[in-house]
């Protein structure tokens, strides 16, 4: 079956095809790119339907996995597989790419390259979520970096070069360490499994689930390997103190790119922790869990306090994004069904909410050409529907009960509280500053008395400050829909995630609490 390959390569091939378009046919380029993303979305929906009809088990179903020998002597295979966890993230990626491409119609410069890079980025992320060979995982991991770099460095704001360089350096330092870790992991696994077993980078064999070659790594080796892997993932998530690239990157990138980076790409880091670190190094993860938990908690509170005082819209959202990702990390390292299930659910929620917020902030920035919070004020009367959309997204982000953000955070924190009361309390504390800075964000733009002068007032006079257009509405509408849907009825997604989660976490043994 080539289905998974088709899902991954379709955007890539589509993006390449786009490059053969004449440069002047801007409209055709945009619509073709959107159509490609939509077709990809349809493919993903087909994948979901296929998956749902199948008995849920990892790495066994023939439709939902494929494997081709590539460099067998090095344990490198082209092998893909999908389970509930990757399925929801694949769906998230496809959705967000579609939305972000639709939101990119305003990009004027080099639209052809832009769209091609967006599609390439999608391919990279899908590959990361679907790869079940470590080497392949690494390749897709690096594939993500290239388009992200160009999108940031070419279409970004004033300080785009600085931001892009910082992003690339941070990310690649992390991923080189991961590459070392991958190579060493294969070596130590072979060492532990015995001479008759070949060098393998196949996830199913490394996890000892499908192979007769069982090798259990010593705890020291596990710890070092975990640290190498975690370096790559911690930068991508990001965990503090590896987050320094993020505010620059998120604030300089064009809004749709930021939405895609924050919404989907940050999930690859957490996915790495969940899919690789925890199952591959179960003992080390438990030993080092206090470290990650501490980083997560400090990050949650630290970034929340930072978000309180940011003067730049997108920086504020960037810090809030890190803060919320900390909750996901906490949930992940609680090692119980609620915490981890909540974490995966919250990955989806965070993706949707953050993307919506960044896109809406982008709409606003497009109208006023400023990101400074102090330039805004009292716009709700001028742009009521944009205010409503932004309000919904902000409320979802601050975790208002009944919206999606609450569902995931509640479940994660419930799990955290079960495993460690102190962490649970500290993590839950974040709802207060979260409410505070999101209200500051919303109120600062939409409420209060309008400014007497400044950029925004000028754009009001010019008449360029219009309410949300139909096109923009259709861009964010799916995201808002999901904000409500997951808030009201999360059982469906949780039902997809949980069986796979429990299967994946079997390796944790008794440490994994139901």
């Amino acid at each position: 079956m080539f289905f998974l390959s088709a899902v991954i390569t379709f955007p890539l091939l589509g993006g390449l095809a786009l490059l053969f378009f004449p440069r002047e046919r801007v409209t055709a380029l945009r619509w073709t790119a959107l159509t490609l993303a939509l077709v990809e979305l349809v493919l993903v929906i087909v994948l979901i339907l296929t998956y749902l009809q199948h008995t849920i088990s990892i790495f066994s179903s023939s439709y939902l996995s494929e494997s081709w020998s590539w460099l067998p002597s090095l344990g490198i295979n082209y092998s893909l597989s999908v389970d509930g966890i990757s399925l929801v993230l694949v769906a998230l990626t496809a959705l967000l790419t579609t939305v972000c491409i639709a939101a990119s119609f305003r990009i004027e410069r080099k639209i052809k390259n832009y769209m091609a890079f967006m599609l390439l980025l999608e391919s990279g992320m899908l590959g990361v979520f679907l790869a079940s060979n470590l080497f392949l995982f690494y390749i897709f991991w690096e594939v993500m970096l290239i388009p992200a770099y160009f999108l940031l460095g070419t279409w970004g704001g004033e300080r785009r070069i600085y931001a892009a360089l910082k992003f690339v350096i941070y990310t690649s330092v992390g991923s080189f360490l991961m590459l070392v870790g991958i190579i060493a992991l294969g070596y130590y696994h072979q060492l532990a499994a015995g001479v008759n077993c070949g060098y393998t980078l196949e996830l199913s064999q490394l996890l000892n689930t499908a192979s007769s070659c069982r090798g259990v790594l010593g705890s020291d080796i596990q710890t070092w390997l975990l640290l190498a892997f975690a370096a790559a993932f911690a930068v991508k998530v990001p965990l503090i103190p590896f987050h320094s690239w993020l505010p620059d990157a998120y604030s300089e990138a064009p809004a749709p790119v930021t939405a895609l980076l924050a919404g989907a790409m940050s999930k690859t880091g957490i996915y790495g922790f969940l899919r690789l670190c925890i199952p591959l190094f179960p003992q080390a993860v438990q030993t080092l869990a206090p470290l990650f938990n501490t980083l997560a908690v400090v990050g949650i509170l630290y970034c929340a306090v930072l978000a309180l005082t940011q003067t730049d819209l997108k920086r504020l959202l960037g810090y809030s994004s890190i803060s919320h990702l900390g909750v996901i990390m906490l949930g992940l390292f609680s090692f119980n069904a609620q915490g981890m299930g909540g974490a995966v659910l919250q990955m989806v929620n965070h993706g949707i909410t953050t993307a919506a917020l960044f896109l809406l902030a982008g709409f606003l920035e497009y109208r006023t050409n400023t990101r400074r919070l102090s330039d805004y004020g009292g716009l709700a009367a001028r742009i009521p529907w944009l205010a409503v959309a932004m309000g919904i997204a902000a409320l979802s982000s601050l975790g208002l009960p009944g919206l999606n953000g609450f569902t995931g955070e509640f479940l994660s924190l419930l799990g955290v509280f079960r495993s460690n009361v102190t962490l649970g309390v500290l993590g839950t504390l974040v709802v207060v500053p979260a409410a505070w800075y999101m209200l500051r964000f919303f109120i600062g733009i939409m409420w209060g008395s309008p400014r007497q002068d400044g950029v925004v007032t000028a754009s009001i006079r010019k008449g360029s400050l219009r309410d949300i257009s139909w096109k923009e509405f259709w861009v964010v509408a799916p995201l808002l829909l999901f904000i409500f849907y997951i808030g009201i009825q999360p059982a469906f997604i949780a039902g997809v995630i949980n069986p796979s989660l429990i299967n994946t976490m079997q390796v944790l043994g008794n440490a994994f609490a139901r």
Binding site: Y170, A337, T428, V432, W447
Partner: protein, 666 residues
């Protein structure tokens, strides 16, 4: 029954959705039809349900029905369900009933506001959220309702969103309410971690270990204190008066703020497991009652007087619950909903008639112009002052009685103190209510003769208050001539009259045991027995003492108010020099202290971290590392001389090394 209760929930939600999406384009009548219709039908359904419930036997009155499966993860599984039992039914009737009256009233009050559709949409949303809070059958959906009423409150306080003070008040209310949500969330986590369940049935039947029970109850009470504006989380409620007056009546007096009282009553089996938590509830309730009443004594803004009064009365309710008499708390909740809604709506009528004026110093003598409002306001004031036989008397008497009963039963001196606080507060309540009443209605009209000096003083004192002109154009203060003051339209006065009637007769649903009718206690017998079974009994003689004293305190308070303000309100400028007066007038400087201790340092910390840790250390650090590489490459690049022959020499050097290595190895 399921279907009916579900519709009570769904109708206001539908109203909200329709108004929210299309209200902007609707004519006034359509907005009113939908807004009133949604709430009215919900009330009707609740009433039908209530009658149905009355016809069943007491054992079958609790009806829990699953609506849909919400989520499951591991051992955690949760359904969304509706619980209809006498307690939630009582709340449901109050919420939808008072809500309906206020919906009707709002049509008049908000008639000129261009955001009418928005207002009704929010009101319907509030009714939905409150109903959800009340009929939820799990702690989680309680939390959902809890958060959503907070949102509704936020939206309505900030209804005039271009007024800076309204925005600040809304933000404050939301953030403090989030602190409450935090408490509730933690309580829920603890409950789940200990019992493995979140539905009321299992949790309330579960026995927690002593410390855990106390922790859970205290966390729950944090939520209650935030929602019901108890010490130390009360600060948002007075500021919430920035919202339109019907909102103050509905949310910040009658219904939402009583959610805390409801929650304690709902989780009474838990509180029964922790005497410490109950003592805290009673203590905080008592202290808050006295504290808020003392602030109310000197307020000049009529809505703020009522706001502090609300806080004080909520304190009474918690006092009752703290001495095991949950039914008494609910009783006071019901009667308070009637007379406080009445008072707020009356105040709204006055403000409406005076074109937005809220300052007592510019009122007076309105008895002659606003007869209906005056009479109903008087009834409300009498009711809250606990004058027999109005509603407030009965419920307050029951509370004071049960505090005294607890005191005698336990012999703990602190309960006597609490009881005395209750009596004193009753006196203070009567005093400030009649100060307010006389200030508004007695004497002569002061609105036309405000001197420049007074005006300045007012500006200085109220510089953070509403002086901004709004887009809605409602709240800007116009001085209206006395002869131009007219009684409010019927759409506003009708709810006043209905509420006045309820304030008169509402007390009779309580116990009349004192007056020789021991069998008559409809509310208590309707509510589950757990809500009053644990309360201590009071001998009839002591009961008479308590009743008499509270009545005496009320009369005394009214008398003093008459003595000072009977001829009209006089603002005594010499009081300004009195430090005690200043302390109370500035609400004990709590807001200022909070700003200085919490808000400013956190913001300063954030700014400092952004600048130094984020900027200099992290950003600077990464730049520093790049400088290291930059610098070292400046050294190393000298190797690249550009002379091709040099490079060739390098190659040769490598070759020689290799060859010599082989030569040495042999």
């Amino acid at each position: 029954m399921t279907n009916l209760s579900l519709w009570v929930l769904v109708l206001p939600l539908l109203g909200f959705i329709i108004l929210g999406l299309m209200g902007r384009f609707m004519p006034r009548t359509a907005i009113l039809t939908i807004g009133w219709g949604a709430c009215g039908l919900a009330f009707l359904l609740a009433a039908v349900n209530f009658i149905n419930m009355l016809s069943t036997s007491a054992a079958q009155r609790s009806n829990d029905s699953v609506i849909y499966h919400w989520i499951s993860a591991g051992t955690f599984s949760l359904d969304f369900g509706a619980l209809l039992d006498p307690l939630s039914m009582t709340m449901l009737l109050v919420v939808t009933g008072v809500g309906l009256l206020i919906h009707i009233y709002s049509a008049g009050y908000m008639a000129d506001d261009p955001g009418l559709w928005r207002f009704f949409a929010y009101l319907n949303f509030f009714i939905f959220a409150m109903v959800l809070l009340v009929i939820a059958d799990t702690f989680l959906f309680l939390l959902v309702g809890w958060g959503l009423v907070g949102l509704a409150s936020y939206l309505l306080i900030g209804f005039w969103y271009q007024r800076r003070s309204a925005v600040a008040a809304a933000q404050k209310a939301f953030v403090i309410n989030i602190i409450g949500d935090l408490g509730l969330m933690l309580a829920i986590f603890l409950i789940f971690a200990q019992s493995g369940h979140l539905d009321y049935g299992s949790v309330l039947a579960h026995t927690f270990s002593g410390g855990t029970a106390t922790a859970i109850c205290l966390l729950l009470f944090v939520a209650c204190a935030a929602k019901s504006a108890q010490l130390p989380l009360y600060m948002w409620l007075p500021d919430a008066m920035e919202g339109p007056t019907p909102v103050s009546a509905l949310i910040h007096a009658a219904t939402m703020v009583t959610a805390g009282v409801y929650l304690v009553a709902r989780t009474s089996p838990l509180f029964e497991q922790s005497s410490v938590a109950l003592a805290v509830v009673a203590g905080i309730g008592g202290v808050t009652a006295l504290y808020a009443a003392s602030i109310a004594l000197v307020q000049l803004d009529i809505k703020r007087v009522l706001a502090y009064s609300t806080i004080s009365q909520l304190g009474y309710m918690f006092m009752a619950e703290g001495v095991h008499n949950y039914a008494g708390g609910i009783f006071h909740l019901v009667t308070h909903a009637f007379f406080k809604a009445l008072l707020f709506l009356g105040a709204g009528a006055i403000i409406h008639a005076l074109g937005g004026e809220q300052d007592m110093r510019k009122m007076g003598g309105l008895w002659g112009r606003l007869r209906i409002t005056g009479v109903t306001f008087l009834i409300g004031a009498l009711a809250i002052s606990g004058i027999i036989p109005l509603a407030g008397f009965w419920s307050k008497d029951e509370i004071l009685g049960s505090v005294l009963a607890q005191a005698t039963a336990s012999g703990n001196v602190w309960y006597y103190v609490l009881w005395i606080i209750g009596i004193v507060t009753a006196g203070l309540t009567a005093f400030y209510m009649f100060r307010l009443f006389f200030g508004i209605f007695a004497g002569s009209y002061r609105g036309e003769t405000a001197t420049a000096a007074e005006h300045n003083a007012e500006v200085n004192e109220a510089k953070d208050e509403n002086t901004l002109v709004t887009a809605a154009g409602h709240q800007h203060t116009v001085h209206i001539r006395y002869s131009a003051i007219h009684e409010v339209p019927r759409v506003m006065s009708t709810p006043l009259i209905i509420l006045a009637v309820l304030s008169v007769v509402g007390g009779f649903i309580g116990s009349l045991a004192l007056f020789g009718l021991p069998g008559w206690s409809p509310l208590t017998s309707f509510l589950p027995s757990g809500l009053h079974a644990h309360a201590a009994d009071l001998p009839l003689g002591l009961a008479w003492i308590s009743t008499g004293l509270s009545l005496l305190a009320g009369v005394l308070g009214i008398g003093l108010a008459w003595r000072f303000y009977g001829k009209g309100f006089g603002y005594k400028t010499q009081m300004q020099g009195n430090p005690l007066y200043q302390l109370v007038f500035h609400k004990y400087y709590v807001d200022e202290a909070l700003n200085a201790v919490l808000v400013t340092p956190i913001l300063a910390l954030g700014r400092g971290l952004t600048r130094y840790l984020e900027g200099d250390v992290l950003d600077g650090g990464s730049r520093g590392i790049s400088m290291v590489f930059h610098g070292s490459s400046a050294v190393i690049r000298r190797v690249q001389t550009g002379y091709m022959r040099n490079y060739a020499l390098g190659i040769l050097f490598g070759v020689v090394v290799i060859v010599v290595y082989y030569a040495m190895r042999g």
